[in-house]
Amino acid sequence: MSILVNNKTRLLVQGITGREGAFHTKQMLAYGTQVVAGVTPGKAGESVEGVPVYNTVREAVDKHGVNTSIIFVPPRFAADAALEAIDAGIELVVCITEWIPVHEMMEVTAYARAKGTRLVGPNCPGVISPGEALVGILPGGIFKPGPVGLVSRSGTLTYEVVNELTTRGIGQSTCVGIGGDPIIGTRFIDVLRLFEEDPQTEVIVMIGEIGGSDEEEAAEYIKTMKKPVVGFISGRTAPPGKRMGHAGAIISGNTGTAESKIRALTAANVPVADTINEIVDLVEQRLK
């Protein structure tokens, strides 16, 4: 088992004919993901890496039984692409695109909730269930199947931790990059709920960062969980009022500080690692 994506995932790539879309379609196919269709308006009839391209999501869904979509559409058009996927009734929509306007994202997340679609992202690296499916831009080669579930607001920090886990022989059930934006479809708490129910996952790693209060909200839920969670928070030394790369990584007033997040996690009995190596040490101890 795993969460969100697996060998039954039938993937649609929105923006498949673009540079990023085409490149990552190739990578995902090479990983073994069933990429069944692509969409680029006006490019119906073409194909990318052998994957047929359609004008609309509806058409692709009707012909190929799509259950998951990934979005590589440029920021100005990405919200519309997400709405189209939600409207077509796709269960899971993963949005990689960065720089989508906040007002549009509020509409997209509200529409996804109304229609019962799970949205991951935007501004995220996607989801991987090692050995089963890659729906994202994560480097598949560093992952291996195993018992650790990982959820993170940061792509490269995920890779750092996974690389260290894999090097030490510890595999992963699913790794979910939830994205660095202030308005995102799936939050820590949503992924923690899924991991708690997933039989393969034994230990969970949660990589948070400054900005917002999703880590604090997750900490409240962790108090009710049976599975152990290991935490990490980046941006401890970030100055207030400055966006640190991610649109969502900003301390505004007294909210969003690393101290507040570490305090909340500690209160939920989650050990918060100081370094990447320590994350893996803590995971190792909990697997034994």
């Binding site: 509200a110 030394t237 790369g245």
Partner: protein, 376 residues
């Protein structure tokens, strides 16, 4: 993008929201001329993109044009919490009967806009919310249906807006929400929103911040760029780099916001301080590395540089080759530590070993070396 008070008020006025008569001045002489034109008592207000200017002495009420000139002179020479005052707004002093608070902002946790109305205006709203929660009404707006009349009324009733004012206040709120939507704002705040002796409601102060991701829809927007305060940040913006100037001595280059933030944390853990945040993004493309490094090398505070790259889909040996070609072309006057991790990291390090660059295997070792070299 943050808007100065007068910039926000220009947007408000264009949307039919009443604002006081006034003009902005860059010199004391201009301030005097404006005060003369307005006649009578005027207010002189520092224009800075940060709160707390009143407490800092950046606002003065005066009775004559001569006094306005004197106060403008004083305020224009001030620096308020790090922001030099370049402009003052001169406005006709208002005859205030009551003060309210009105704000619309994005609630991250609820993923929706929130309308905030209070009958305790002119004060710090967070303080009012903490001490008199009954005086602050918050109404969350479903992005799919927008702000509806029943919500506006609910907010007014809960905020204890006097019954005879509710109709006018409702119209005011609807206009402000329209500005919030049309400008792609993440914050519109009017504090105080004043009831004048004449019975009119007016935006005495104005604050607005808009979403940078939506800037393409507002090519003519006039505001100040909050992220480009330091000249190096301005330069980074022109180069399209994700850069923040910090006050330490170790220059940082990395790929991925989370990785770079963690690198800053590790520098501090080893007793140093980072001179900047710089995210070169995925793949470490040669042009971006080059622009990033030259920017950091032009920072006189930088005593050593740590390049921390995780090679994912882009292999580390490719990253190393790119780094070497870039660095060979540049004049490097400070020691550089490179840490490569991920796909083909060993091969990458082997390539760098032939250069004069210091390499490190682990995050910790790299941070420690960079801090030591900055001190040497």
């Amino acid at each position: 993008m943050k808007f100065l008070e007068y910039q926000a008020k220009e947007v408000f006025a264009a949307a039919g929201i009443p604002t006081p008569q006034g003009k902005v001045a860059a010199t004391a002489g201009e301030a005097r001329a404006i005060a003369e034109e307005l006649g009578g008592a005027v207010v002189v207000k520092a224009q800075v993109p940060i709160g707390g200017r009143g407490k800092a002495g950046g606002v003065a009420v005066v009775k004559s044009a001569a006094e306005a000139e004197k106060e403008a002179q004083r305020i224009l020479s001030m620096e308020i919490r790090g922001y030099p005052v370049d402009e003052v707004l001169i406005e006709k002093a208002a005859d205030i009967k009551a003060e309210f608070y009105l704000g619309v902002t994005v609630d991250r946790a609820r993923q929706a806009p929130v309308l905030i109305v209070s009958s305790a205006g002119g004060m710090d709203i967070e303080e009012v919310a903490a001490t008199h929660p009954d005086k602050v009404a918050k109404v969350w707006i479903d992005p799919l249906i927008g702000l509806r009349p029943f919500q506006v009324k609910e907010a007014c009733y809960r905020a204890q807006v006097p019954p005879e004012l509710i109709q006018e206040m409702s119209g005011f709120i609807e206009k402000v929400y329209r500005v919030f939507k049309e400008q792609d704002a993440i914050l519109v705040e009017i504090n105080p929103l004043a009831l004048l002796g004449s019975g009119e409601l007016i935006a005495l102060d104005g604050k607005m911040e808009t979403d940078d991701n939506a800037r393409f829809r507002h090519p003519d927007a006039k505001g100040v760029d909050e992220q480009a305060e330091h000249p190096l940040e301005q330069r980074a913006k022109e180069l399209g780099l994700s850069y923040v100037k910090l006050d330490g001595e170790v220059g940082i280059v990395g790929n991925g916001a989370g990785l770079v933030m963690t690198t800053l944390d590790m520098i501090q853990r080893h007793g140093g301080k980072a001179a900047n945040f710089l995210d070169i993004g995925g793949g470490a493309k040669a042009e971006v590395v080059k622009n990033g490094l030259s920017l950091i090398l032009s920072d006189p505070d930088v005593k050593s540089i740590l390049i921390n790259v995780f090679g994912g889909i882009t292999r580390c040996d490719e990253v190393a080759k790119g780094l070497l070609s870039v660095i060979q072309e540049m004049e490097v006057h400070v020691p550089i530590v490179v840490r490569l991790a991920g796909t083909r990291a060993e091969e990458g390090r082997a390539l760098l070993a032939e250069s004069h660059l210091a390499t490190a295997e682990s995050f910790q070792e790299a941070a420690k070396k960079a801090v030591e070299l900055a001190r040497a």
